[in-house]
């Protein structure tokens, strides 16, 4: 029973009928009566004793917040959940979701992506039409590891400032830049690149990367967003780069498998990657340096070359 007495005021109510605010480590507490009136009290030991004696129980959350060892346990649980989520749960969930996406959505995303850069960053191909056809036919004739029905269509563009490159879109379209085609000494090197990109397409890496990136950004926003959006952006970038490197390694493995199926050596891809790296460095100037590898979306080329060598001898 609580009774409040003061100048010109006298009220009483059973504690059970009152809405009692939760303790916030010394902040005043509010007792709210059923008609909206409220009484602000200092959170003193007397009050705490009274409430405890009358059977008022604090919520589980409040009790957890109060004890340091429970807080430590919560912290450990949080760390484990975040680590396991980042490492295993999110990639798995993204994979499942990506493979359930209807093809119409994938096509939409892909055409939007191309439309966004066509005419600004990439331009129509300068390669002769019969060269393009010959390459397309060659690629179509290759045997490939399982690719879940994703049909790969090959397009050619001029990459301009983007240099020699090739990439796969979520709907299975693979874009080759003229600059990369010219860099190759023979068509087998292009087959290696095609096999790598086909790996990206077959395993829907593009979509999985988008999903994983979004979730990472969201969780970081919840955690660090309060603190600094710059910190969130940078750490998001670092975390996402790791996912990207994982996908690149996966595509390399697919490519090695595909090359072997067509009686070609996986070393083809490794050597061509070295050529690509040299070409990019020449374009940018300088020797690069080791720092950029940490931040890179691709594993270091030496590492990929070594992986190709291992896969070649298996």
């Amino acid at each position: 029973m609580l009774s409040v007495n003061g100048r010109g005021l006298s009220r009483a109510a059973a504690l059970a009928d009152l809405e009692i605010s939760e303790p916030l480590d010394g902040a005043p507490r509010t007792l709210r009566f059923s008609d909206g009136a409220s009484c602000e009290l200092q959170d003193t030991p007397a009050l705490a004793a009274h409430l405890a004696a009358s059977g008022h129980a604090e919520s589980l959350v409040v009790r957890t917040q109060r004890r340091w060892h429970l807080v430590a346990a919560a912290f450990a649980a949080l760390a484990i959940i975040l680590f396991a989520g980042y490492r295993w749960v999110l990639p798995l969930a993204a994979e499942k979701l990506a493979f359930r996406m209807p093809h119409a959505v994938l096509e939409r995303i892909s055409s939007q992506a191309i439309a966004g850069v066509e005419g600004k960053w990439i331009f129509p191909s300068q390669l002769p039409e019969n060269r393009q056809e010959k390459l397309r036919k060659h690629f179509a004739s290759l045997a490939l590891p399982p690719h879940d029905g994703v049909t790969t269509r090959v397009e050619f563009r001029s990459g301009g400032m983007l240099g020699p490159n090739a990439f796969a879109l979520p709907d299975g379209t693979i874009i080759f830049f003229d600059e990369l085609v010219k860099l190759a000494e023979n068509d087998d090197e292009l087959v290696a690149v095609f096999a790598h990109e086909a790996g990206h397409a077959a395993h829907r890496h593009g979509l999985r990367q988008i999903i994983q990136q979004s979730v990472v950004a969201l969780v970081l926003a919840a955690y660090i967003g309060d603190v600094s959006t710059l910190g969130g952006a940078v750490s998001g970038w670092l975390l996402e780069a790791k996912y990207s490197r994982d996908f690149e390694r996966d595509a390399d493995r697919y490519a090695a498998q595909a090359l072997k199926m067509n009686n070609l050596s996986p070393l083809l891809l490794g050597e061509f990657l070295m050529k690509l790296e040299q070409a990019h460095l020449r374009q940018k100037g300088g020797t690069g340096g080791n720092i950029t590898n940490y931040l890179s979306t691709h594993p270091p080329t030496e590492e990929r070359m070594k992986a190709m060598q291992d896969l070649a001898t298996q």
Binding site: S21, E22, L24, D25, G26, A27, P28, T30, G36, S38, E40, Q42, D43, T44, P45, A46, A48, V61, T64, Q65, R66, W68, L70, V71, A74, F75, A77, L78, I81, L82, V105, R108, I109, Q112, A113, G116, I210, S214, L218, V219, A222, Y223, I224, D226, V227, S228, T229, G231, G286, T287, G289, I291
Partner: protein, 423 residues
């Protein structure tokens, strides 16, 4: 006499008079330690009762008393007389850390749903530990209302984020819709926050209309755009005037007593400061890079030093210019804010704010964000220490206005879309 005292967020006791005096002699209990003895109705700093008969009503204590917990900032002493009430913040980083960690875990585990309850708890923590004139503030927002708002906000945010990848027309439509309803969201955001805030059980109110917000935003916004940003201070001023002049505490209205002129002044001073520190810093960077180039024989391996120094320069300028702007603007706006016959006083300093931000930023970075609860508390404490309310009439005369419930949709949507509309 039975005593209790507070340390590290816990209440320790009961202690006998002898035990208590021993702790005082040992220096465990200082004049700032919050103590309680049977017979007192409230916690008080020990210094307020030592050697005298403890009165029952709380004293008005200067929040920046000498000997107060030493931060890297020494808060200036706000003189307290019978008509001037200093704000004070009684929270602590370690207390808030415990609340924050548990709530963060629950938020992650529930994929964000619990965040509404976490937000209510956080608001209540900061409101209830903030007091003025012996009474604390309170926050009344309800978690479910906030959750609804957050869901709407999330849908809009997801739409804005992903529609460009699917259809540019859809994206444009969503963007236009958001821009059109933004004045409404702004108004509701102010209203929700104010209606759910109270002091001594009297609620704040907001009377602004969305159409006035629209006129201000679009009118002055277009002006700012047309002048390539030169008239942005006018928009800044009008928005805050809209917020303050439509706010009231119970039946008493707030009034912002300055025009756009002083606001322009702060912006101009800030720009000059930025240019000055930027140039000085750039000069230092160039000298530094040249020195390193000479020292290392211009080896390209050290070429990455230049962007790193560039970054450092950027942060250095930010750390001087942003606190200057914030402190000056806060002092200007709050120093000219009236409530009935009373007025506010704000005495933030660039140095004080910069010290807090530097400490917060470094430690938060160092601890991968875990320092954040302490950082938030540091900032809240500084803001309280530099704010006071002076009234010739005392603080007992304010009366409440009629109650009404406000939905949270406005506040939550603007939060997620990252518009900062706090004063």
């Amino acid at each position: 006499m039975i005593w209790h005292y507070r340390e590290g967020g816990r209440s320790i006791g009961p202690l006998t008079e002898e035990e208590f005096q021993q702790l005082v002699a040992d220096g465990v209990i200082t004049s700032e330690t919050q103590v309680w003895n049977d017979g007192a109705g409230i916690w008080r700093p020990y210094g307020s009762i030592a050697g005298s008969d403890a009165p029952h009503m709380p004293h008005l204590q200067p929040s920046g008393a000498p000997g107060a917990e030493t931060d890297s900032v020494s808060a200036p002493l706000l003189s307290v007389g019978p008509a001037r009430h200093a704000f004070s913040f009684s929270g602590s980083g370690s207390e808030y850390f415990r609340i924050w960690i548990v709530n963060l875990l629950l938020t992650i585990v529930t994929l964000g749903i619990y965040s509404a309850w976490a937000k209510v708890r956080r608001s209540q923590y900061f409101y209830r530990h903030m007091s003025m004139g012996g009474a604390s503030f309170d926050y009344h927002g309800k978690p479910l209302a906030i959750l609804k708002g957050r869901i709407i906000a999330a849908v809009l945010a997801i739409g804005l984020q992903y529609s460009p990848q699917v259809s540019m027309t859809a994206y444009s439509v969503i963007l236009v819709v958001v821009l059109l309803i933004f004045p409404f969201l702004l108004t509701r955001s102010f209203a929700f926050r104010l209606h759910n805030s109270s002091w001594r059980s009297i609620r704040f109110r907001f009377h602004g209309m969305a159409k006035d917000a629209a006129k201000t935003l679009y009118g002055y916004g277009l002006l700012a755009a047309a002048t390539f940003g030169l008239c942005y201070p006018a928009l800044y001023h009008r928005l805050r005037a809209f917020g303050f002049n439509n706010a009231s505490f119970g039946k008493t209205a707030f009034r912002l007593g300055i025009g756009a002129g002083p606001v322009f002044g702060v912006f101009v001073k800030t720009v000059f400061l930025m240019l000055g520190t930027g140039l000085a810093g750039a000069f230092l960077v160039v000298v530094g890079v040249a020195g390193i180039a000479v020292f290392t024989g211009a080896h390209t391996k050290y070429a990455f030093i230049a962007p790193v120094l560039g970054f450092a320069l950027y942060f250095f300028v930010l750390l001087i210019v942003y606190p200057f702007f914030q402190a000056s603007m806060t002092n200007l706006l709050w120093g000219n804010l009236r409530l009935g016959s009373g007025r506010f006083e704000s005495i933030q300093t660039t140095r004080g704010l910069a010290a807090i931000w530097a400490k917060n930023a470094l430690l938060t970075l160092f601890t991968l964000g875990l320092y954040w609860p302490w950082a938030a508390v540091n900032l809240a404490r500084y803001r309280a220490q530099t704010l006071a309310f002076a009234t010739p009439m005392g603080v007992d005369h304010f009366t409440a206005d009629a109650e009404s419930d406000m939905s949270a949709a406005g506040e939550e949507v603007t939060d997620v879309l990252n518009f900062d509309i706090s004063f």
